[in-house]
Every structure is written in structure tokens, then in C-alpha cells.
């Protein structure tokens, strides 16, 4: 069966060793940081492109946030998605209820009725673990999260996820929402022709200012790191006896 798929991606900062904060502590200081698609969502884009290659249909990618989210939408187009949608919700970070409302609003504005909506299990930066469930509930669709395997059957999807030491299998009727995790596949690097095409692609823009929900961020803080200064055991192969002394001290050998 041919499938029309919508993938929701989030623009997230790509921090290095530390996450710098703004002076008022309300946000991550992104002046010197790059941005990326969250790892879970990158796998969602890859899976959507593969499913459309196999079954036919279309892959649309959507990002909600400031206008700069177009960068992540274009990256997904470069990976092989067919259409891009920017949901311009302004500069302020949205709470999860507002994010879900913006996505639901945008889905209503688009002409396609999607068979499958894919989201990341949780965003890499805020990690609220709920936007996909809220979108699915609002649209009256079934949803399962933590998915690392998708098979499309006739009118349904068979989904696998790992929980503890077990693998669980679900079978959802379409249309459905699936929240995926990294490990679902190995995402491709966009090709040069893909990038050039994505650069010129026309994006659909939907402007929407959702009502704020009931969770309000006050400020961000760095967690305490109570570790003592690192003990240098030596250089190169000569450090081996000191390393094994430590292993014995820790009782692991």
C-alpha cells in the first residue's frame, strides 16, 4: 500500500562538553552552538524515506518553532523527504501542550490526510516525553512510543520496541502515530545533489501562536558535578601496572 507519512522534527542545539546558559538562566546560550535535528527524529526521517521508497507515497517533514527551523526541514529534504512545512510559532520555547497544539493545527491546514505520523520518542533538549501522545490523542489515533522496528502491513503497522530485557510487539491500525527511538535504522548522510535540491525547495509556512499550557519554565541550571579532579595514572603502555592496581582496588579484577 502507498503511504503518506508526516515526520515531525525538532531543531535542537548541538552542545559540546558543556551546555552554556544565557545570563538570566532562562535558556541555553546558542550564540556559539550549531543546531541539529534530534537523533530520534533523524531516524524517523530516514525510516519515512525508506518506507516511501518501498511502498510508494510521500514523506512530508514538519518542524514547529522559530523561522530558523527551516534549516532542519531542509536537512530532512536533503535526506530524501518530499515536502517541507515550517510551523512558525515565534521565538519563545513552547511547553509540550502548546507544541502539540501547533502540530495539530498545522496537520489540519495541510491537504494530505497522513496514514502515518512519526515523531521522536522525546526531544533531545527538553525531553518532555508527551508531544506524540498528545498529538495522537487529539487526532483520535493510536500511538506507541520507543519504537525500534516498523513493518507496514495492509492497513496496519507492526511495531517493535525493547523494554527491559524483553521485546514487545504492537500492531496498530492505520492511520496511526509512532514515536521512534535512535537505533531504528542508521540515517544516511545527505548527498550533494540532495542538499542542492533541498536548498531550492519551496517550504510551506503555517504561522500559529498556540495558547500556553500549564507547565512554565522558570530557569535552567547546570547540575552539580562533585567528582574530584582526575588522577593521572601515566602515559602509554607504561601506565598498565598503575591501571591494574586501580582495577584491583575497585575489585573488578
Amino acid at each position: 500500500m502507498s503511504l503518506d507519512i508526516l515526520v515531525c522534527v525538532k531543531r535542537v542545539p548541538a552542545p559540546g562538553a558543556k551546555v552554556p546558559l544565557t545570563e538570566d538562566g532562562r535558556d541555553i546560550d546558542t550564540r556559539h552552538l550549531g543546531f541539529t535535528i534530534g537523533p530520534h527524529e533523524e531516524c524517523a526521517v530516514e525510516e519515512a524515506v525508506r518506507l516511501v521508497d518501498k511502498h510508494g507515497g510521500s514523506a512530508t517533514v514538519l518542524a514547529a518553532g522559530p523561522p530558523e527551523v527551516a534549516e532542519q526541514v531542509r536537512y530532512a529534504l536533503a535526506m530524501g523527504a518530499n515536502q517541507g512545512v515550517v510551523v512558525d510559532t515565534g521565538e519563545d520555547e513552547l511547553d509540550p501542550q502548546a507544541t502539540a497544539a501547533a502540530i495539530v493545527h498545522a496537520v489540519g491546514e495541510l491537504d494530505t490526510s497522513f496514514d502515518l505520523i512519526m515523531v521522536g520518542n522525546e526531544s533531545a533538549d527538553a525531553g518532555h516525553y508527551q508531544v506524540g501522545v498528545r498529538v495522537a490523542t487529539e487526532l483520535g489515533r493510536p500511538v506507541v512510543g520507543g519504537i525500534k522496528g516498523i513493518d507496514v502491513l495492509d492497513g496496519s503497522v507492526r511495531l517493535r520496541r525493547d523494554v527491559g530485557s524483553a521485546t514487545e510487539v504492537y500492531e496498530l491500525p492505520l492511520p496511526a502515530v509512532v514515536a521512534v527511538k535512535e537505533g531504528l535504522n542508521l540515517p544516511r548522510y545527505p548527498s550533494l545533489p540532495g542538499r542542492l535540491k533541498a536548498k531550492k525547495a519551496q517550504l510551506r509556512t503555517v504561522s500559529y501562536r498556540p495558547e500556553p499550557g500549564g507547565l512554565r519554565k522558570i530557569r535552567l541550571r547546570q547540575p552539580e558535578d562533585n567528582r574530584a579532579e582526575s588522577v593521572l595514572l601515566g602515559h602509554g603502555a607504561a601506565a598498565a601496572p598503575a591501571v591494574v592496581d586501580v582495577l584491583e582496588e575497585l575489585g573488578v579484577c
Binding site: 533531545a124 522558570i218 603502555a237
Partner: protein
Amino acid sequence: MLILAVKVDEHPAWADAVGVARGLTDDVHAVVFDASAVDELPKQGIRVAHVVEHEVLGDYAPEAYGEALAQLVKQVQPSAVVAPGSEKGNEVLAHLAARAGLPLAANCTQVGGTGRPWQLTRIRGGGMLLEDAELDASCGLFTVQPGAGPSNGTAPVDAVDVHRFTPELAAELARTRVVDRAEREAGVSLATAEVVVSGGRGVGSADGYKTLEELAELLGGAVGCSRVATNNGWRPHSDQVGLTGTKIAPKLYIACGISGATQHWVGCMDAKAILAVNTDPEAPMMTRSTYSVVGDLHEVLPAVIDEIRARGRVDQASG
């Protein structure tokens, strides 16, 4: 003030959720979907349990769990509902939140206040940052980060007052229910291994992990890797330590050729000791570790393996 603590599976963070709830009120009721779970409640000092029963709830079914909880909340009118910040705890409370139209704060380390609003602290980015936030709602919904509960125990009680609750669930809600389940292969699991020998960009190739495997086997541990290794196809994603991989808390984490970006650090920061091996003494993993060795892992690890074997022979000879 009444708080419901929801038990969705055997995840140990349930005790953390109960602990956080008890920090707010003495009136904590358990909600269980499996009647046999009632037996262990007296040990945790819980006097009242709501046992949710319905044929749709025969196996784990997140949508139906969420709808059942929404109906229970309507009937019991608690001030808040807490659940473990486990995959299933977060999933079930998200369904409750969506169906009841309530805000939800996931992975909280602290919850304070008496509502309208609640003050809370939650983790972001798997522990990269802490967020102080307010949650304003008729019923506060929180999941509790594993390990965040108070460590002091509670006095046990003699008996649990069991309330049976049968929600009205449409048969359609069975559409998101486990239809098959398989145990994965055993072996030393990354999540529970006492020692994890992990490699990143510095390993250089899939073949390069042979030395790490050898050391892990000698120490009875598991092999891990960074996201670079997974993205290069050197190791399967199931070996990945970090924000989008596995979060671990071994006795010892040996990080070889891993620079230590935040996304990796949050996966291993709960290790009791970290030994970093890297050619770059300024790499974040080297400065944040407990012990460090400056050098090429392909020279250091074989020497460590030889040293362990040599000492083992001496022990055997003298023993």
C-alpha cells in the same frame, strides 16, 4: 491532600515516585493494574490501593491505562498523580495527561508546594541541565526521575485497604496493546554490567574493538561505544552509551578514545569510577574522569591485558 502513585511495571523508580509523593503528603494511595502487586504495598507503608480491572487491561495497553487513570482521577479527585520516570511510566502519564487535558512534568527530581502552582525541578537532555518550573493545574501530573526519591525508608503497615475500580473502556482501546513479547538473548547486558569497556572515535574501526572485547571479557564486563561508533557502523546501536542510547551506572566505566560530549557524558556520569584513555589530555572525558591515562588506546589496552594475565599467573603459581 491525596496523591495517587501509579505502578505500571516492575521498574525500581516506583519507589522513588512513592518517596516524592510521601514528601508532599501522608495520604498516598497506590494504583496498580495487577492485583498481585498489592502484596508488597504494606512494606512501603501504603494503606490504600486502587486495583484497576478490565478485560482490555489484560496485557500492557498504554492508551487504555491512560483512559482508566483519567476516569479514576475524575472519581477520586487527587491533588496529584505521580509515576516512575521509566519508559512506561512516562508513556502512561502522557496518555493520562492528553486525555484529561492536564499538563505533565516528566522526570522530576523534586516536587514542592501544594498545587496552584506546584514548584518542581526536572531534568532536561537526560541530565545535561536541570529545569526549575511551575505547574499549574487542578491535578498535578509528575513522573519521578529514577534515583531521585528520598533514601530514608518508611515504616511498614499491617494491611492494605483494597478498592477495586472498573473503568468503562471502549473495545477500540485494545488497539494499542502488546500482541507479542519475546525475551532478548541473555549475556552480560550493557545496562547492568559492573564494568563497561567503551570505545569512541579513537578506536578507528570495527576491528579495533577486538581489544576492548578482550578486556571486557577478562573483567566480566560489557562493551559499549559512543554515537560516533554507531554512526560509522562499527558497533550496533544496542552498544551505544548516552542520551539516545543506554544510560548506565557501572562500578567502572573505561572510556577509550571518547572525547566526552555532553550527550555521551549523561549516559555514563552515574558510573562510580571512570577511567579515561585518550591521546588528548584536554579531552573533556579526561578532565571529568576519576582516573586517566594519556596515550593511544591501541597501546595502553594490550599492555593492561598483559598485566592482568601476568598477575593472574603469579596468583595461580603462589596460590
